[in-house]
Amino acid sequence: MELATQLVTYGVLMGCIFAFISLGLSLIFGVMNIVNFAHGEFLMVGMYVAFLISSYLPLDPLVSLPFAAGLGFILGVISYRLLITHILRGPMVAQLFGTFGLMLFLRYLVMFIFGPDVRTLSHGVLVGKTISLGWISLDASKVMAAGLCVLFFVFVYWMINRTKLGRALRATSLDAEAARYMGIDTEKMNALAWGIGGATVGVAGGLLAHFYYVTPTIGMVFILIAFATVALGGFGSISGAFLAGIIIGLIQVLGGHYLSELKFTFIYIAYFLTVVLRPRGLFGW
C-alpha cells in the first residue's frame, strides 16, 4: 500500500509536469495543424531564463517565471511571424523541416552562447527542499510545478471555452476561412496561439529548472514525451493533454519501478495503441 501510494504520487507529479510541457504544443497544433519540433527548445530557453536570473542577478528563480513566460511569448510570436507564415505556403514537408530547422537553430545558438555545460540552480526558496507527507518525501519544487500546471490548465481551458478570444481561436482552428469571413483576424489568432504556447512552455521550463539540470540539448529529453502526450490526449485538446500527461507520468514511474529498461517502450506502446485504435486521441478535436 505504501509503495503503491508513493509510486502513484510520483507518477501524478511527473505527469503534471509532462502535461504542462505539452500544453503549448497541443494548443499550437489545435489552432494551426502544425507540429512544432522546436517546442523542446522553447522549454530549454525557459530553463535558461530561470538559471540566468537565479545565477547572475541573483534573484529567486521563482521571480524568473514571468520573464520566462514573456520571453516564451515573444519567441513564439517571432517564430510565427518570421518563419511559420512563410513555410505555411509550402508543402507539408516544408512545415516539418521548418520547425526542425528552428529547433536546431535555437539549440546551437544557446550552445554557442553558453557552451554545452550542464548547470543546475544552486539557490531558491524551493530548490532542494522536500515536503514530507507521512511516508512520502516530495520535492517541493515538483509540488509547486504540479500546482501551477493545474492552474495554467484551468486558465487556458477557461480562456478557450469561456471567452470571446477563446471562441475566436477555436473558430480559427475549425475553419480559418469561415472565421475570416466572420471578421476574425486569423493571423492574429495564429500568432496568439504561438505566443501562448511559447509562454506556457517557458513557465514550465522555469519550473523544471528548479529540480532538473539545464543544458542546450535538454529539449531532446522531453520533446518525444510531449509528442506522445499530445497524441494520446488528442491533438489540440487541452483537457486531453492534461489527462494524457498524468497517464504517461504513471506509465513511466510504474514502468521504471518494475522494468526500468523498457520504461520508454511502455510509453510508446500507449502512443502506438492510441494512434491505431483511436487516431484522434482520447479527446481530439
Binding site: L3, Q6, L7, Y10, M14, F18, D117, V118, R119, T120, S122, G128, T130, S137, D139, F211, Y212, Y213, T215, M220, V221, F222, I225, Q252, V253, L254, G255, G256, H257, S260, E261, K263, F264
Partner: protein, 440 residues
C-alpha cells in the same frame, strides 16, 4: 694491350664497388639520428579536444626523452635521446583517425608503408585501436597501446600488440579489491569495517553496451568476492525522470549503490536520491559521468563522499613527486592538468623509449623481444601503478601490462573540491570519508 686494359678496367671497377661497399657498410651499421614513431589519435571531430590533450601528453614525453631534464628523477629525463642508439631522437608522426576504425586502419598502413615508422601507438578509441593494430600485426611492426580499455584487445593472441593500460575488467576487480580492503582496515583514515556494512549491492547501469558490460562484470566479481546483489537494473540514460529507479534502490535494503551512468543520468540519480533521503553506506560510479567536471560543479556539496573509478588525479602529486613535476610541466604547456588518458599516453611513449633503449636496435624483432622482457619500476611512472611488465594478468590476456591499476577517487570538499585518491591504498592522497551517510 687491349686485354691488359680490360683487366685494369675490371680491377678498377671491382675496387670502386668494394670501396663503395666499404663506405656504405659503416653507415648501415650506424644508429639512426631519429626514430619515427607513428601516433594515431582522434584529432578532429567530436573527440578533437580529447585528441589534443592526448597529443600533448605524447609530445611532452618525446621532449623529455629528447632533451635533458636534470630536475626530473626519472631515467628518460637524463637521456637526451635513446642512449643505446647513439642518442637518436624520437620523432613523432601524427595521424588523425577521426574516430573512424576504417580510416584509422588506413592511417596505420600509411604510416608503416610511406613514413617507414619503427612502430605505432594510439588510438584512444578501442574500436580504432582494434583495426589499426591489425595492420601492425600484418606488417610485423610493434604497436604499443597506452589508453584503450576494451578487454578484447589483448585477448586476440597478437604477437605485435602490447597494452600498457589496465582494461575494463580490471577496473571492476579494483572495486571489489577496494571493498575487501575496507573490511581489512587498509583504507587511509578508516578502521576495519564489518563486511555486513557494505555487502549488499544495488546496481544501476545505463542500457547501452557499456552499461550492460559493466553490469556483467560487477555480477561476476560480486559472486567471486562474496557480495550480494540485492537489486540491479538497466535504465535508458535519456530518461526524463529516475524517481522510481532511485526508490527501487532504496527499497532493496542495499547498503552500497553502484552506477554506470553518463553525465546527465548520474546528476539526475544523485539529485533524486538526495530528494528521497537515501542514506547508503557507499556510492560508487564507474567513471564516465562521475568524473566529468560538470558532475561536481553542478551538484556541489551533494557529491561529497561519492566514490568513482578513475585512472589519474592531479592530487597524486602528493604521494608521487614525479607526477606533480610532470603535471606541472604539462599544465604549463597545455593549460590544463593531465587526465587519466593523457597521462597514460605519456606512459605509452615512455614504454616505447625504454623498449628501444633495451633493444639497442630499431629491428622489429629486437624491439618485440625487449618489450616482452621489459620491466619499468613504479618510481619511473606518473601513474599509481606497481610498474610496467607485460604478461597475462587475466585469463586469455597476452602482452598486457600486469602491474597496472585503476584508481578509486573520492569527491571531497565540493563545491570547489577535489578528487582524492583512496585506492590503490598505498597511493591514497587523503583520509577516506566513511560512511557516505546520505545528505542530511
Amino acid at each position: 694491350m687491349r686485354t691488359r686494359c680490360s683487366t685494369i678496367s675490371i680491377v678498377f671497377l671491382v675496387l670502386v664497388v668494394v670501396t663503395m661497399a666499404l663506405m656504405a657498410s659503416p653507415a648501415k651499421a650506424a644508429p639512426p639520428k631519429e626514430i619515427k614513431i607513428g601516433v594515431i589519435l582522434p584529432l578532429s571531430g567530436p573527440l578533437a579536444p580529447t585528441g589534443k590533450a592526448l597529443r600533448e601528453g605524447v609530445e611532452l614525453c618525446a621532449d623529455i626523452v629528447n632533451k635533458k631534464h636534470p630536475d626530473l628523477k626519472i631515467s628518460i629525463a637524463q637521456w637526451e635521446g635513446i642512449p643505446n642508439l647513439g642518442g637518436a631522437k624520437i620523432k613523432l608522426i601524427f595521424a588523425d583517425h577521426r574516430g573512424d576504425p576504417g580510416w584509422g586502419a588506413d592511417q596505420a598502413k600509411r604510416l608503416i608503408r610511406d613514413e617507414k615508422v619503427v612502430g605505432l601507438t594510439g588510438c584512444y578509441n578501442s574500436s580504432v585501436t582494434k583495426t589499426a593494430s591489425v595492420e601492425a600485426e600484418r606488417a610485423g611492426i610493434p604497436f604499443v597501446n597506452g589508453e584503450s580499455t576494451s578487454p578484447a584487445l589483448t585477448k586476440r593472441g597478437f604477437k605485435w600488440f602490447w597494452r600498457v593500460t589496465p582494461h575494463e575488467t580490471w577496473f571492476t576487480a579494483d572495486l571489489f579489491n577496494f571493498l575487501d580492503g575496507l573490511t581489512k582496515g587498509k583504507a587511509r583514515g578508516v578502521k576495519a569495517i564489518a563486511k555486513g556494512q557494505i555487502d549488499k549491492l544495488a546496481v544501476a547501469t545505463e542500457n547501452t553496451e557499456w552499461g550492460a558490460a559493466a553490469l556483467a562484470a560487477i555480477q561476476e566479481f560480486a559472486a567471486k568476492h562474496g557480495y550480494e546483489i540485492v537489486e540491479w537494473f538497466k535504465y535508458p540514460h535519456t530518461a526524463a525522470d529516475l524517481t522510481s529507479e532511485a526508490r527501487r534502490m532504496m527499497a532493496s535494503g542495499a547498503n552500497t549503490y553502484l552506477f554506470a551512468s553518463y553525465l546527465a543520468d548520474s546528476i539526475l540519480f544523485i539529485k533524486t536520491l538526495k530528494e528521497l533521503g537515501a542514506s547508503p553506506t557507499l556510492i560508487w560510479g564507474q567513471d564516465a559521468g562521475f568524473v566529468e567536471a560538470d558532475f561536481g560543479k553542478t551538484l556541489g556539496a551533494a557529491v561529497n563522499g561519492i566514490l568513482t573509478r578513475d585512472l589519474f588525479s592531479p592530487e597524486l602529486g602528493k604521494v608521487k613527486p614525479v607526477a606533480m613535476q610532470l603535471n606541472k610541466i604539462y599544465k604549463q604547456r597545455a593549460g590544463y592538468d593531465f587526465s587519466g588518458s593523457s597521462a597514460r599516453d605519456f606512459v605509452g611513449l615512455q614504454v616505447w623509449a625504454h623498449a628501444l633503449n633495451n633493444a639497442k636496435s630499431t629491428d622489429p624483432k629486437a624491439i618485440a623481444k625487449a618489450l616482452n622482457a621489459l620491466h619499468i619500476s613504479s618510481e619511473e611512472l606518473i601513474m599509481p601503478w606497481k610498474g610496467v611488465r607485460f604478461g597475462s594478468p587475466f585469463p586469455g590476456d597476452t602482452q598486457q601490462n600486469e602491474l597496472g591499476s585503476g584508481v578509486i577517487n573520492q569527491l571531497q570538499g565540493f563545491p570547489g573540491g577535489k578528487y582524492q585518491v583512496v585506492y590503490p591504498f598505498e597511493f591514497a592522497t587523503a583520509d577516506m570519508v566513511y560512511p557516505f551517510g546520505g545528505w542530511k
